[in-house]
């Protein structure tokens, strides 16, 4: 097995690991984290595909590599927005739970204000 193929298999495993975390972890912040693990797995897999396209004296296909740079920046933008929404939710309600019936110990802070 070649080195890039090993990275490719690790990338597939990372997508799986992240997906598991996304479903199982109840905290929204952990879901955002897990989603980033899924994303990095997808990026790494795409990077392995770029590496397979090595030609014309280049170590990898530059087109997917350029798309990856764009992808990483867009993933960061989405993560930053998601985290800010989460922190605002926490500031407003004192909780970030996704449960339909919030098990809130301080009952009157449990409802949303807007």
């Amino acid at each position: 097995m070649s080195g890039p193929t090993l990275f490719g298999l690790v990338a597939c495993a990372l997508v799986g690991v992240g997906l598991y975390g996304l479903i199982v972890n109840p905290q929204p912040l952990r879901k955002i984290l897990a989603f980033n693990v899924v994303g990095s797995g997808v990026f790494l897999l795409f990077g392995v595909i770029a590496r397979r396209g090595a030609a014309a004296g280049m170590g990898g296909d530059p087109v997917p590599q350029a798309l990856l740079i764009t992808g990483i920046v867009v993933a960061f933008s989405a993560t930053a927005l998601a985290i800010t929404v989460l922190l605002r939710l926490f500031d407003e309600t004192g909780s970030t739970t996704l449960a339909p019936e919030a098990p809130s110990p301080s009952a009157n802070t449990g409802t949303s204000q807007g």
Binding site: L19, P62, S77, L81
Partner: protein, 314 residues
């Protein structure tokens, strides 16, 4: 089945850290693990001959995203216990594991059955590079062949900042992001915040400039400059600007506006949006990059600083 240790070691460490950040009980160690995970991914990118991607991953994918996650986890720590009570039971966890394993297995199967030889655009990218005037094929893709992607990418970043700002509570609208930091003026943080930025800014400008011919570029450079700015903010040496300031907003949109203006100029001059006239590719790319880099640094820094939390008064 012997794999080079330089591949096997980072691959296994990345997988181990990916699993760690997902299953570890507390959120704070998970986010710190994610930072280390991002740095190790950088090694993988170098091994995959994607040095430009490695720089982006180190700066943005690992660095900035990791910093956001670490900070959010510190802030949400008081409600950790409450959230933990909602962990789903064993049947759902098993089902999630099954779904995850199926997806991972299908992807692995697809990877192992990819066509050989692989399709590639490397030859075309290299063949036409002379007309763009740049020497790094990835920069040629980002700024010439697929400049539209880069324009939209810069716009997405700006939209993310508008999204972050729109979450400002009404009472502090137009105010300054984040708390006013008060570090010990004789402490190590203040010392680093005085010594590091001049070096960091030079490194940033270098990475920006060599991006035309070697790995590097404006996004990676803008991240380094933004990081230096955030360092001085956190050491209390400078204060974040109020978001209502007109000059600040003008600087934020200057980069994308110049990019769009050059793109529109391409319609009469070269026949289509974002096309460069013959022989003018390199100067026009430079105009875009010089306009975009300060806007990007400012946008990234302000996204990291977050929504305003206090009034415009210092």
């Amino acid at each position: 089945m012997i794999v080079d240790a330089f591949y096997a070691a980072p691959a296994l460490l990345i997988l181990a850290l990916g699993i760690y950040t997902t299953v570890v009980r507390d959120t704070f160690p998970a986010t710190v693990g994610f930072l280390a995970y991002g740095l190790l991914l950088t090694v993988a990118w170098v091994q995959l001959h994607g040095v430009d991607v490695a720089l982006t991953e180190a700066a943005i994918g690992g660095g900035l995203t990791g910093m956001l996650l670490v900070r959010a986890s510190a802030r949400l720590r008081p409600i950790e216990g409450q959230a933990r009570a909602e962990t789903p039971g064993l049947p759902l966890r098993l089902l999630a594991g099954l779904v995850a394993a199926t997806v991972a297995g299908a992807l692995a199967l697809a990877l192992l059955t990819l066509p050989d030889p692989a399709p590639t655009l490397a030859a075309e990218a290299v063949a036409n590079i002379a007309s763009t005037g740049v020497g790094n094929p990835i920069t040629a893709v980002l700024m010439a062949y697929r400049a539209m992607d880069t324009l939209l990418e810069a716009t997405v970043l700006l939209l993310a900042l508008i999204g972050v700002w729109s979450l400002t509570p009404d009472r502090v609208w137009g105010g300054r992001p984040g708390p006013r930091y008060n570090a010990d003026p004789d402490g190590i943080l203040s010392f680093i915040a005085r010594v590091l930025p001049p070096i960091g800014i030079i490194v940033g400008i270098y990475i920006f400039w060599v991006g035309a011919d070697h790995p590097g570029g404006k996004f990676q450079a803008a991240t380094i400059v933004a990081a230096m700015w955030l360092l001085t903010l956190m050491a209390g040496l400078a204060d974040a600007p109020p978001i209502g300031r007109r000059l600040l907003r003008a600087l934020l949109v200057a980069g994308p506006v110049v990019f769009i203006a050059v793109g529109v100029a391409g319609v009469p001059l070269a026949g289509t949006f974002l096309a460069y006239p013959e022989g003018w590719a390199k100067p026009m790319i430079l105009v875009i990059e010089f306009a975009l880099m300060p806007s990007l640094a400012l946008t990234l820094g302000l996204i990291l600083a977050g929504a305003p939390e206090r009034g415009a008064q210092p």
